[in-house]
């Protein structure tokens, strides 16, 4: 890809990669670093990466870097583990989007990642499999279980309200 194509990729994809990482990791500074790293790696391989595949390259690089950071911080005990099956919620929700974001935050990292890649970016199961290095079957199972969890969360909120 050319410098111009690289710059186009920055314009087109940086917000999306940032949204994906920020919602996964929920730390703005870390998310910024991860996105910058991903673009830096793309720049190093600017002559090798096809312009049409640069978006997948960015998501793959950013996702793997994020997983590395999460694992490292979990080992160091810096990560706040959220109970997967906790439907507890506090505060007042103004709309569905807020409820959904709250539910999303309680998914596991992998479930959250696959569901965001699916809904935000519109990737099919094969593409998600390549980005996350999961098997096709694993991707499907993670997405289905994440949807079930989100639905149950919405039901629980509606019951309370």
């Amino acid at each position: 890809m050319t410098v111009k194509e690289y710059n186009n990729a920055v314009e087109l994809h940086s917000d999306h990669v940032f949204r994906f990482i920020l919602k996964s990791i929920r730390d703005q500074e870390k998310a910024k670093d991860i996105v910058q790293d991903a673009f830096e790696k793309l720049w190093h391989k600017v002559e090798e990466v096809d312009a049409l595949k640069c978006k997948a390259y960015l998501f793959t690089t950013a996702y793997r870097r994020m997983i590395d950071i999460i694992r490292r911080e979990k080992k160091q005990g810096n990560w706040n583990e959220v109970s997967e099956k906790s439907y507890s919620h506090s505060g007042h929700y103004s709309d569905l989007s807020e409820i959904l974001q709250s539910a999303l935050a309680q998914l596991t990292e992998v479930q959250r990642s696959v569901i965001m890649l699916r809904d935000y970016e519109g990737y099919d199961y094969n593409e998600i499999s390549e980005i996350t290095n999961l098997s096709l079957s694993q991707v499907k199972v993670y997405i289905f279980r994440a949807r079930k969890y989100l639905k149950d969360y919405l039901v629980s909120i509606e019951t309370v309200v």
Partner: protein, 345 residues
């Protein structure tokens, strides 16, 4: 028992369960005509009765059967597949059947449709402007780092000596003209460098330093008759602070070491030929020349180091020299990747 306001609920329950007799039904109709406000209450009793078509057995099955792949029950699996647009033909048939069997399907479907994240939600990356690359300033990060490393090394090398200066032999003059004339006889004398440590430390860079050369006779020297009785004395022209110094004493020659005149003449002739064809080279210079020839492969030290540096850092490294009319280097420039340094002599 007649129907009244205190017992009408029992009549209502019997009514919805179809247990009223004809007389009781007539009484109920009359009661509702007198109390129309209770008609609404009777209608609500219908809702607490499960419709006959909603079979308990079938509902339980659809909720208990688990999908082998996902572990979800049939309804959840089919509704998520529908949302994900991954329904097979068989799944589509199953969903149609489930629609008839359960009234919960629509409600569940509505909940699942809300689990779709809004892809139009915008989150802006704050550092976007920094990521844009300008072609004119295109420097790869790793190349940049390599250039810096190379530049540091080059600066170190650059401050050593001018490449052209490194192998120029120092000029020496001898006070005694006869010795000056005869001293190149390499066969007779070994010239060596000494007293270098006595050089004043304040000497400026690139200025000729004071080096004393001494001559020592070989074990079996060949000395012309006109020269043999004299003591060889050597003085360096620049060594103003140093007086003439005598060379080390030579051992006295014995009779059997002396050659016949004819033999001496022949040897002198040979030496003259050798002297005319070969340049006089002190030992230190000889060692430098050998090093240049064997190790540097007749390249300058700078050229060799530059090649090694280029190989190690994967950078293009080149030297440019500007020479004056006399052929001496006036300015030297070194280019490393995107960096360039120059130095005037």
């Amino acid at each position: 028992m007649k129907i009244n306001k205190s017992n009408y609920e029992a009549y209502f329950l019997d009514f919805v369960e179809g247990k009223l007799t004809a007389n009781q039904q007539a009484e109920l109709d009359l009661f509702l005509a007198v109390n129309p406000d209770l008609k609404f209450e009777l209608d609500s009793f219908d809702e607490v009765i499960l419709p006959k078509e909603e079979c308990v057995d079938k509902i339980a099955k659809s909720e208990l059967i688990r999908n082998e792949e996902t572990g979800l029950n049939e309804m959840d699996y089919l509704l998520i597949s529908e949302l994900e647009n991954t329904l097979s033909e068989e799944d589509k048939q199953s969903l149609i059947r489930l629609n008839f069997e359960s009234s919960k399907v629509d409600k569940e479907r509505a909940f699942y449709s809300k689990t779709k994240l809004n892809k139009d939600e915008v989150v802006l990356f704050p550092n976007k402007a920094r990521m844009i690359k300008k072609p004119a300033k295109l420097i790869y990060f790793y190349r940049y780092a390599a250039s810096v490393a190379a530049a540091v090394l080059a600066l170190f090398l650059f401050n050593l000596n001018f490449p052209d200066d490194q192998y120029e032999p120092r000029k020496i003059e001898f006070a005694n003209s006869e010795i000056e004339k005869e001293i190149p006889m390499k066969a007779a004398y070994v010239i060596f460098e000494e007293q270098k440590a006595k050089e004043p430390k304040t000497l400026k860079k690139n200025k000729p330093s004071t080096i004393i050369y001494a001559a020592q006779k070989l074990e079996k020297p060949i000395i012309p008759a006109s020269f043999k009785e004299q003591e060889p004395v050597i003085k360096i022209s620049e060594a103003e602070s140093l007086a003439e110094i005598p060379a080390k004493e030579t051992p006295k020659e014995t009779e059997n070491q002396r050659m016949e005149p004819n033999e001496v003449e022949k040897q002198e002739e040979k030496i003259a030929q050798v002297s005319a064809s070969e340049e006089f080279v002190p030992l230190v210079q000889f060692a430098k020349n050998k090093f240049k020839e064997e190790v540097l492969k007749n390249k300058t030290l700078t050229e060799t180091l530059a090649e090694e540096l280029a190989a190690a850092t994967n950078q293009k490294i080149s030297f440019e020299a500007v020479k004056n009319q006399e052929g001496k280097t006036e300015q030297l420039a070194i280019n490393i990747g995107k960096f360039s340094f120059s130095r005037k002599k």
